[in-house]
């Protein structure tokens, strides 16, 4: 009896205690700063300058280093996420826009839009390891969960390039629809999603065969097709839900990860661009570049729960792992 009471009290305590609050970092492309939010209260903690035209943003797996593509400074700036003080910079090549971190935290693979290269940088020694020639206007970057395959998408060549993450050699190219913007694997490594902004589609690719198994397209009642421009893609850890930011359609599409069918379109803010999950996949944050806010989506309920004003032209978002 006592045991049962103790147990139920414990259960109650666990249920009542809030999920761990994480810091949410939003890069503001025009504000030249990063807005930091609390993932639990959804309040703004502060806004910090981070250099010229910050776009891509990511954080190390241990949560100790925050990386920001300072596109107009032509480098990656690294910050202490606690203090938001800059600790050092990394060479990135010209106009870095997006990057992806190896699952181990090292190295960092950076797309250089202006010179058709992917730059590989060692995050420990801060040295450039390689420059990989890719297609014209490289943009989207993805990495397989085992860290063996890096994907780069080139906007003008309209390809997803499969790069061996150790030899830095391209071993496959997949032609996708016009202007591919983003590449995202599911955590199972069984699917790769590549969004095409002008093509208006998401290609689902089997990473083993590099074959396109499905092209997801979007129709939203009352929205002109040219407003539907898929950009950011995120997948829940279990692979069951895929979220696609549709740019000026101001919607996020929710897709069934098993059937690749669209389940719903959620109205968020204007020109929705990139997205980031909390580590428990409870919330998804979306950056809305024209309404200058971040929408918070309750992932399980598939509902927008709040919009939080941030800086000027929010672009990227990442949530601290701890």
């Amino acid at each position: 009896m006592i045991d049962r009471i103790a147990l139920s009290t414990l259960a109650l305590l666990v249920a009542a205690s809030p999920a761990a609050a994480n810091r949410v970092f939003v890069s503001n492309e025009r504000g030249n700063d990063v807005t930091v939010l609390d993932s639990e209260t959804l309040e703004v903690i502060g806004t910090y300058p981070v250099g010229a035209r910050p776009r891509g943003i990511t954080i190390s797996p241990d949560g100790k280093e925050l990386y920001v593509c300072a596109s107009d400074d032509d480098l990656v700036r690294v910050f202490d996420p606690e203090t938001m003080q800059e600790t050092h910079t990394l060479p990135s090549g010209p106009d870095p826009e997006l990057f992806v971190l190896h699952p181990s935290g090292n190295p960092l693979y950076i797309a250089n839009e202006d010179d058709n290269l992917v730059t590989v940088v060692d995050t420990k020694t801060h040295k450039m390891l390689a420059e990989i020639p890719v297609g014209v206007e490289p943009e989207g970057m993805g990495i397989s969960p085992d860290g063996k395959v890096v994907i780069n998408t080139s906007e003008t060549t309209n390809m997803a390039h499969f790069i061996n993450s150790e030899t830095f050699e391209i071993f496959a190219n997949v032609l996708v629809d016009s202007r591919p913007r983003f590449a995202q694997f599911n955590d199972q490594g069984s699917k790769l999603y590549v969004s095409s902004e002008i093509g208006g589609s998401v290609s689902v690719i089997d990473p083993a065969t590099q074959a396109i198994t499905k092209k997801i397209t979007f129709q939203i009642p009352g929205v002109l097709p040219e407003a539907i421009q898929p950009v950011g893609v995120r997948v829940t850890r279990d692979g069951s839900r895929v979220f696609v930011a549709l740019g000026p359609a101001n919607r996020v599409a929710v897709i069934d990860g098993a059937t690749d069918e669209v389940l719903d379109y959620l109205l968020v803010g204007q020109r929705v661009w990139q997205m980031g999950f909390t580590p428990d996949d409870k919330f998804l944050f979306t950056t809305n570049g024209n309404s200058n806010d971040v929408s918070v989506i309750d992932v399980a309920a598939m509902k927008v729960v709040k919009s939080v004003p941030v800086g000027q032209q929010p672009w990227g978002v990442v949530v601290a792992p701890n």
């Binding site: 939203i220 009642p221 009352g222 407003a227 109205l267 803010g269 309404s291």
Partner: protein, 196 residues
């Protein structure tokens, strides 16, 4: 001459950055000729009854006032919240439609205007190039006709000044459709918050 080349570069760069789908479009922002209601609104789809309602004087007057940018947004939101207290979903949808139908044609006309502005800049750039060739030709003549060179130089300076002034105004001009989009979206959000 170098700054003229820079200005050309900017113009070309803007078109290039957005895939060059429309060479007449001078803005960095992607050209989106028309807005659609579904970009702003997930409430009930307007039917004939709602369209009829949107034309009623009382609702039209409210839409006219809310649409004006001189009415600060917080005040517009407060007016909408007030209206929503007694309005049903049909009336709120009609209000959204009335606002959208005011802002969208205004924005579409503005988009056309910007495209014309862009074309004029391209024409002016061609004319400047012509002046430059003429200058080179005059300067090559021996003996030089200094009066003709001076006159030509003045033409060149004048056109370049117009070109640069317009180019500087472009940033602001290109922002205007975005400001209208922001307005209609923010009003839509406020109206949607009042849906029952």
């Amino acid at each position: 001459m170098r700054y003229l080349l820079v200005a050309f570069g900017l113009l070309a760069g803007a078109a290039h950055a957005e895939g060059g789908a429309d060479p007449d479009w001078p803005c960095i922002q992607r050209k989106q000729p028309h807005l659609s209601l579904g970009q702003m609104w997930t409430g009930p789809a307007p039917d004939d009854a709602v369209r009829e309602l949107a034309r009623k004087p009382e609702l039209a007057a409210l839409a006219d006032r809310l649409e004006q940018r001189r009415l600060p947004l917080p005040q517009a939101e407060a007016e909408i919240a007030d209206y929503a207290k007694s309005a049903d979903n049909q009336h709120l949808t009609a209000l959204m439609l009335a606002i959208f139908d005011r802002i969208e044609p205004h924005r579409a006309a503005l988009m056309d205007g910007i495209a014309r502005y862009g074309r004029k800049q391209v024409d002016l750039a061609a004319r400047i190039e012509g002046h430059r060739h003429e200058m080179a030709r005059l300067e090559a003549i021996d003996p030089p006709d200094f009066d003709a060179i001076d006159a030509q130089e003045q033409k060149l300076d004048w056109d370049m000044r117009i070109f640069q002034d317009r180019q500087q105004a472009l940033t602001y001009v290109c922002e205007t459709p975005v400001i209208l989009e922001q307005r209609v979206f923010a009003l839509g959000r406020a109206i949607a918050a009042g849906l029952k």
